[in-house]
């Protein structure tokens, strides 16, 4: 890209808008031949992926550029759409572009005939979904923001219910739509408070308004509720494990990898950019909610037996980790410790980026497993590493990344977050000094549990013996799918090994939010060592790390090969001499989750039926449920039901009664108007 083109004012903004328009065009083209898999899959989706790559490069080039704004000749009269890019939206657009490129590439090879909605219609919904997410990140007034936000919710609702003939999928879709709208209402109210009766819905005027502590707090908590519902923080997370398994895999990947991040974007934008004040105790609340979400997500992930539900709960965990970083930054920021706040925010943003890549990689990989085997149930898989070595290899990268193992990307954000926790003794509040290190222990616990979950996920799907006969016919992913997965796996490695370059590149996004960033302290190091504040405090050099491990492995291998013969025999497994090993003897997903279920019994509502010796037809089942359903959702639903029954007394179906109601209402209103 020529440099003068980038520096031209408005280039980034126009480029991003062009990509959005391109996505919409691609989507509508899908309606031309809605049933042609070749046309939609092999032509339109790669085009969409190309647009994603363009968006990725535009955002990468302009993350360092000054903000650009534009008023579009669209919208209502006197209420035009305002759009704007700054480093923060460029960062999230970059995430969207890169994620969309990989996921669309995978989707190009993913479609099979005869599944729910026709491919052409899916193509339209999918690309509208992409375009609306990009618009959310570009919006510079509350009006466009809400329009794009609702477009995003609706298009994703249709994508979730693409197999709408199944009742449980319709139920999942309803739950998703319900919680999405509760969230949207809260966000709308937050904007309403922020514009403070001026009638000017642009973000610029909101930035200028200076609400008092009370109104600022109300706005923050409304926004936290609203964006939290979209991001899936506890207790508003229940739609995630229902909607993700219902949706087609590329859609689950897109929702988890990018859509949850739009909520994080909104939260950051509103809290740090639009609100004039930030109070430290908001951060404490966000931190507590983040930690709870994190632990809750990972505990439930550990006991799942459905691949996609497991990944959905793992998304809840990751969102919890991002919110934890956000909360910590808010605490530091509230006390004026800007550098520490920048450190915690960097950890949160880095985790957004990481999660976009490894979670979409894992969702797509389960999508292929689902297609190749027809089963989502972990109890029916196993041994797939022999049938699909490439997929297994790429998935391993994602698994190691999400398990927060060095030298992959998940570890970098966890490391940064823990470093941020270690700065808590600098806070001027004794209680926080005591409590925040304990929060770090919760972070470590959930990271270690995350590794447990991922060993279970990978081990049960890819390792061991195939648990079903039909798995012997499974085949590896096709070239489009592998290309998409490789596109997503590469950043997992690069972000893990070269974190310094990545953090310096994303530091303008942090500077939008807090008046500090890690870039100056990293500029002093030579680029290999990640030293967030000062080299003597902490340092981490993943590239060196990788080199030393590889060198050690290579050296060991060469030495063993050089000095000892390399003879190898293959035979049956030894298994302590027990004969007749069968695939049914391996641990199932339930077995692997059993210790967690036992140790953290209080979290789960377990229903178990054990067969007795006298049963004619012995049957075993185990059902692990979320307690929150029974503690929160079902009571609320019942209360709504009762309330509706009471109100329905008014509804008698007689015209004169309704006229009476109207008359009474009018009278009442007249009283108020006076």
């Amino acid at each position: 890209m020529p440099a003068d083109l980038i520096s031209e004012p408005g280039f980034a903004l126009r480029g991003s808008l062009a990509v959005i328009a391109g996505w919409l065009v691609v989507g509508f083209l899908g309606l031309l031949r809605p049933h042609s898999l070749r046309f939609v899959g092999r032509l339109l989706f790669p085009l969409g992926a190309g647009a994603g790559i363009v968006l990725f490069f535009i955002s990468l080039a302009t993350i360092q550029a000054p903000p650009q704004a534009l008023v579009l000749p669209l919208g209502l009269p006197d209420l035009p759409f305002h759009v704007r890019t700054d480093a923060l939206s460029a960062f999230f657009l970059l995430l969207l572009g890169a994620g969309a490129a990989g996921i669309s590439m995978f989707a190009a090879g993913y479609f099979r005939p005869g599944e729910g909605t026709s491919p052409g219609l899916l193509c339209l919904q999918y690309h509208v979904f992409l375009a609306s997410m990009a618009l959310v990140m570009l919006a510079d007034d509350a009006y466009l923001f809400m329009v794009a936000w609702e477009m995003m919710a609706l298009s994703s609702y249709f994508l979730v219910t693409s197999q709408h003939r199944l009742p449980e999928i319709r139920r999942a879709g309803f739950l998703y739509l319900l919680i999405a709208h509760l969230g949207a209402l809260a966000i709308l109210l937050a904007f309403g408070v922020l514009q403070a009766g001026q009638g000017d819905y642009t973000f610029a005027s909101m930035r200028a308004s200076q609400p008092g502590a009370l109104w600022a707090s109300i706005t923050f908590f409304l926004a936290f509720l609203g964006f939290g519902a979209k991001a899936g923080i506890v207790p508003l997370h229940v739609w995630l494990p229902e909607a993700h398994p219902a949706a087609p895999s590329p859609v689950s990947a897109m929702m988890s990898a990018v859509m949850l991040k739009t909520a994080i974007y909104g939260l950051l934008r509103l809290t740090y950019d639009l609100l004039g004040v930030q109070l430290w105790w908001w951060g404490v609340v966000a931190l507590a909610v983040g930690l709870l979400t994190m632990l809750y997500g990972v505990l439930f992930a550990a006991v799942q037996t459905d691949m996609k539900r497991l990944l959905a709960y793992s998304s809840i965990e990751n969102v919890g980790s991002i919110v934890t970083g956000f909360g910590l930054s808010l605490v530091f920021h509230g006390y004026g410790l800007h550098l520490m706040a920048a450190l915690a925010l960097t950890a949160a943003l880095y985790h957004c980026l990481n999660h976009a890549f490894f979670k979409s990689l894992l969702f797509l990989s389960t999508g292929h497993v689902l297609h190749a085997t027809g089963s989502r149930n972990l109890g029916k898989l196993g041994g797939l590493i022999h049938r699909m070595p490439w997929l297994a290899c790429l998935t391993l990268v994602g698994v190691l990344g999400i398990a927060a193992l060095p030298p992959l990307n998940g570890f970098v954000s966890e490391w940064l977050l823990l470093q941020a926790f270690l700065f808590s003794p600098g806070l001027p509040n004794t209680y926080l000094i005591m409590l925040i290190p304990l929060a770090a222990a919760a972070v470590v616990l959930s990271a270690a549990l995350g590794a447990y979950v991922m060993v279970k996920f990978y081990g049960v799907i890819f390792l061991g013996h195939p648990r079903e006969e039909k798995l012997k016919d499974a085949h590896d992913a096709g070239p489009w799918e592998l290309a998409g997965l490789a596109w997503l796996a590469l950043p997992c490695l690069l972000l893990g090994v070269f974190p310094v370059a990545a953090i310096v590149a994303l530091s303008p996004a942090v500077e939008v939010l807090v008046p500090a960033s890690l870039a100056p302290s990293l500029a002093g190091s030579n680029g290999w060592y990640l030293t967030p504040i000062a080299p003597e405090r902490a340092s981490y050099a993943p590239f060196l790390f990788l080199c030393v491990i590889l060198l050690a492995v290579l050296l060991t291998w060469l030495l063993v090969k050089r000095f000892y013969h390399g003879r190898l025999r293959r035979t049956d497994a030894w298994d302590c001499g027990f004969p007749g090993v069968s695939a049914r003897m391996q641990d199932t997903a339930e077995g692997f989750g059993q210790p967690i279920r036992q140790i953290f019994e209080a979290f789960f509502r377990t229903e178990r039926h054990l067969p007795t010796a006298f049963d004619e037809r012995p049957r075993y089942y185990l059902n692990v449920e979320d307690r929150l359903w029974h503690w929160l959702y079902l009571p609320v639903a019942a209360a709504v039901g009762r309330l509706s029954a009471m109100i329905s007394v008014l509804q008698r179906g007689r015209i004169h009664l309704y006229l009476l109601y109207s008359f009474a209402t009018l009278l009442l209103l007249l009283v108020f108007v006076r």
Binding site: A403, L463, Y529, F545, V548, Q586
Partner: protein, 319 residues
């Protein structure tokens, strides 16, 4: 850094890596000897672990027919991780170029990486034992990790650094001070060390009793050179943990950067400390009984509480 300094640092790095890697099995032999003596048994020779390794290296490897490349790669990966961990922990001198590559948090990450590879390899064959061992290993580790991190946090709050060499330099070469917080942390650390290294009371490395084993269950399917690497790596892991303990709680004697004359002193100090640590380990293992697996959460919960107490002591008393 000038060339002579860099060379000196590299030499120090190489020396301590070789010393630690070679001492690992010897240390294990020493622990085993003391265990035998304390239990009124006739002890195996001190070099028994080396003999085992040599024997294993000379055998033909036999692996299960459905083993994937992951299974064969895992021992190398685990061994490589342990070598990296050993090159980060200051054993003889704090003059370590590789130590910059990772602080204590990353060190926990390296150990976790090795563990995950081991657990995945255990699930690869698809036997009941392998998956059982993998599950239990991951169980013990996720309970142990928060306690371990709290211990490290306590030490790093004292020295304002998470780099191990900086922690050692702060604790060993400052004016002598007693930190009550570190006493709590040390107890917690020893408990975690026992759990993570498959020692009694959490695991018994000497049995093949299906119901009790953790580490052994994971490596049952390995043979010959693969088993040798796994066993060697296990002894190195014990060495890594012990030397971390030495670095955090009794760091005196470790040579500061560039002082080659102090290295022999450091070596002598190291051997003496390891000898004491080995005796202590054998003593603990002899006087305690193996727990049920579901008692392990209580045990590690205690370790975590002690570590938290240590940290709170530090924050409250400033020492």
């Amino acid at each position: 850094m000038s060339w002579p300094d860099a060379l000196s640092a590299l030499a120090s790095q190489a020396l301590q890596l070789v010393v630690a890697a070679a001492l690992g099995p010897l240390y294990l032999g020493w622990v085993n000897q003391w265990r035998a003596w304390l239990q009124n048994r006739k002890a195996p020779p001190l070099i028994q672990p080396y003999c085992n390794l040599v024997k294993l290296f000379h055998k033909d490897a036999v692996i299960a027919s459905n083993a994937s490349p992951l299974f064969r790669a895992a021992p190398y990966a685990v061994f490589g991780c342990m070598l990296l961990a050993l090159s980060i922990v200051p054993v003889l001198a704090t003059d370590l170029p590789f130590a910059q590559a990772a602080d204590v948090i990353a060190l926990v990450g390296v150990l976790a990486l090795a563990r995950v590879f081991q657990a995945l390899a255990a699930m690869d064959i698809g036997t009941a034992f392998g998956t059982l061992g993998a599950r239990r290993e991951m169980l013990v580790s996720f309970l142990a990790e928060p306690a371990l991190l709290m211990v490290f946090f306590t030490a790093s709050l004292i020295s304002q650094s998470t780099g191990l060499t900086t922690i050692v330099e702060t604790l060993a070469h400052r004016a002598f001070a007693i930190y009550p917080s570190l006493a709590f942390a040390a107890v917690a650390f020893v408990m975690v060390l026992l759990a993570e290294n498959a020692r009694i009371p959490v695991d018994n490395p000497a049995t093949h009793l299906e119901l009790t084993m953790i580490h052994e269950a994971m490596v049952l399917e390995y043979s010959a050179r693969h088993l040798a690497l796994v066993e060697w790596a296990a002894s190195l892991k014990l060495m890594v943990y012990t030397t971390i303990g030495i670095a955090l709680f009794v760091p005196w004697g470790i040579a500061p950067a560039g002082q080659w004359l102090q290295v022999p002193v450091a070596l002598a100090a190291l051997v003496a400390k390891l000898a004491l640590a080995g005796f202590g380990l054998a003593l603990i293992e002899t006087v305690s009984a193996k727990m049920r697996v579901f008692r392990v959460p209580e045990y590690l919960g205690t370790a975590f509480l002690l570590a938290v107490l240590g940290m709170l002591t530090l924050l409250l008393l400033g020492a």
